[in-house]
């Protein structure tokens, strides 16, 4: 009898089953199979899913964020229990006790309508909905995974949307710009987690910029500004609150910017969305992008000066010394090339 009860408990209403099947498949990036389980009829009127279905959905999404965002971030996660890591995510605006919202369900419905080329039922534009930090990351993971595995299928349906979508693979690029709560309000464990998450976010940054060519120039320009603004803000907090470990991330990304051709003007000029722009406007956009990189350079130089000003008699010299070594390795060798590329960006000349 007991096993029959267990069996019954696992049965879900058809609507919940469709949605869960969709999410578990899209998690692997298999967009075609995912939507075959997610026909338009599968969305119940009024978004009424069973409470048990939503419970399962919550746990799937929570695990997803744990496995794909939180755990890879914490390269020092061995010191934590899995369950406690989730509590350390406030800094990145990821909710520890995540509960699916109606807005997220509505976005899934939007995506479904787009896939099946149905007329929009909801008049408000996709992704204009108010989503939480975690929900934005779910969408991010969803699209990132699909772009990795089934790019052609994805682009055939979503290319127009994707080009103009201000959704970034770089998780913290825009929706955690306010950096709430403030650094000094975090517990030492949370601060420790934040410092330990550098690797994951650098990797996110690289993925984010590798997709520039697919996007509209307006989106690229806006997102570069936001991402660099965020990094500048991290540096400012680091200087103000003497949290020097926060410099690891901006310094590593500064290095990657110079290595990955982000300062190469031609990389932007080759973007398709530039083709329809007048030459004068192209120059204006490039100057705006350049301006963001210039501000970031200024901030990194400020960080460098700050670290150089710490003498060996000072209390925190040991940490400063580590950062000084990092600056010698990751900032100094690329300063000249960074500066030269900025100079080239400011010229009117275009290499064909």
């Amino acid at each position: 009898m007991t096993h029959l009860n267990i069996g019954k408990k696992n049965l879900l209403p058809a609507n919940d089953y469709y949605l869960l099947s969709f999410l578990t498949r899209i998690k692997n990036g298999d967009i075609g199979a995912a939507f075959s389980y997610f026909p338009p009829v599968s969305f119940p009127r009024g978004f009424k899913f069973s409470s048990r279905g939503l419970e399962v959905l919550n746990s799937i999404l929570k695990n997803w964020i744990m496995n794909d965002v939180v755990m890879p971030s914490a390269w020092q996660n061995r010191v934590y229990k899995t369950s406690t890591i989730a509590e350390f995510c406030r800094f990145w605006d990821l909710e520890a006790e995540y509960k699916i919202s109606i807005n997220f369900l509505m976005v899934l419905r939007d995506i479904q309508q787009l896939w099946y080329e149905e007329e929009y039922e909801n008049s408000s534009y996709l992704f204009d909905r108010k989503l939480s930090g975690s929900e934005k990351v779910f969408l991010d993971l969803m699209f990132r995974k699909t772009l990795d595995t089934k790019k052609r299928a994805f682009m055939s349906r979503f290319s127009e949307l994707y080009k103009s979508m201000p959704l970034s693979s770089f998780n913290f690029s825009y929706h955690t710009l306010s950096i709430m709560p403030r650094w000094n309000e975090l517990s030492s464990a949370e601060q420790y987690y934040m410092i330990a998450s550098t690797d994951y976010y650098v990797e996110s940054f690289v993925q984010w910029e590798s997709e520039f060519h697919l996007k509209n120039y307006e989106v690229v320009q806006q997102e570069i500004g936001l991402v660099l603004q965020k990094l500048i803000e991290l540096c400012s907090i680091g200087i103000k609150d003497e949290v020097w470990s926060l410099f690891y991330l901006p310094i590593e990304i500064f290095y990657r910017i110079s290595q990955n051709g982000l300062l190469n003007k031609n990389r932007y000029l080759e973007m398709k969305s530039f083709e329809s722009l007048e030459e004068k406007h192209v120059y204006g956009v490039i100057l705006e992008i350049r301006s963001s990189f210039q501000k970031f350079l200024n901030k990194i130089l400020e960080v460098k000066r700050e670290m150089q000003s710490i003498g060996f008699v000072e209390e925190n010299f040991k940490i400063a010394e580590k950062l000084q070594r990092l600056i010698v390795k990751r900032v100094d060798p690329v300063l000249e090339i960074y500066d030269k590329q900025l100079e080239y960006m400011a010229t009117n000349e275009v290499r064909k």
Binding site: G284, L287, E288, S291, Q294, N298, L301, A346
Partner: protein, 192 residues
């Protein structure tokens, strides 16, 4: 059985005429001091100019339809000309409906669109305004851009001289400074 019926509705039809042009330029100085310090000096000099206000890192000047912005950190100068006027008129939109139970909104929306197109075509006042605004812009472009360029050229010169003095002060004691503004020469004698 369905009957056709007429709907009339009063609507305000609007036609917005917009003349907008934008220029961007990077202010360049000789690299006498690090870029951050040169930018700071230029910002200090610009703050002495009348009519310029500052909000955050951005200096701004409003002059009629012209907005000039200078970002002190990246030394980016943005100049924008913006002229916008909305013309409107009251129209009575009339449509014939024949499908009771269905919404008439799509029919009304397309009737409004048609009325708007007609208004745009017929409105000589808007066309005249656009023409006049474009002419005004044509006439103002050159003197305005020359004026801004002149201002920043002067500022850059002042800043470069200031930067040279600062650098000289770092080297040793300044004995004399001779400025020949006509030839753009500065002679600084430093005692080391």
């Amino acid at each position: 059985m369905s009957h056709t019926y007429r709907i009339s509705r009063k609507e305000t039809i609007r036609n917005t005429v917009k003349v907008n042009e934008e220029w961007k330029s990077l202010i360049e100085t000789l690299p006498i001091l690090p870029q951050v310090e040169m930018a700071k000096l230029l910002s200090e000099e610009l703050a002495k100019e009348n009519d310029w206000s500052k909000s955050g890192n951005v200096h701004q000047k409003q002059d009629g339809n012209w907005t000039i912005e200078y970002d002190e950190e990246s030394m980016l100068l943005s100049i924008e000309y913006d002229d916008e006027k909305t013309f409107e008129r009251e129209e009575t939109i009339e449509i014939s409906g024949y499908n009771p139970g269905y919404s008439d909104e799509p029919l009304i929306t397309s009737a409004i669109e048609r009325a708007k197109e007609k208004f745009i075509q017929e409105s000589t006042e808007a066309k005249d305004y656009e023409k006049a605004a474009k002419n005004k812009l044509e006439q103002e472009i050159e003197p305005k851009l020359d004026e801004i360029e002149g201002l920043f050229q002067d500022l850059v010169e002042v800043v470069q001289i200031e930067a040279l003095k600062k650098k000289a002060r770092n080297i040793g004691e300044i004995e004399s400074i001779a400025e020949d503004k006509e030839n753009g020469e500065v002679k600084i004698i430093v005692k080391i």
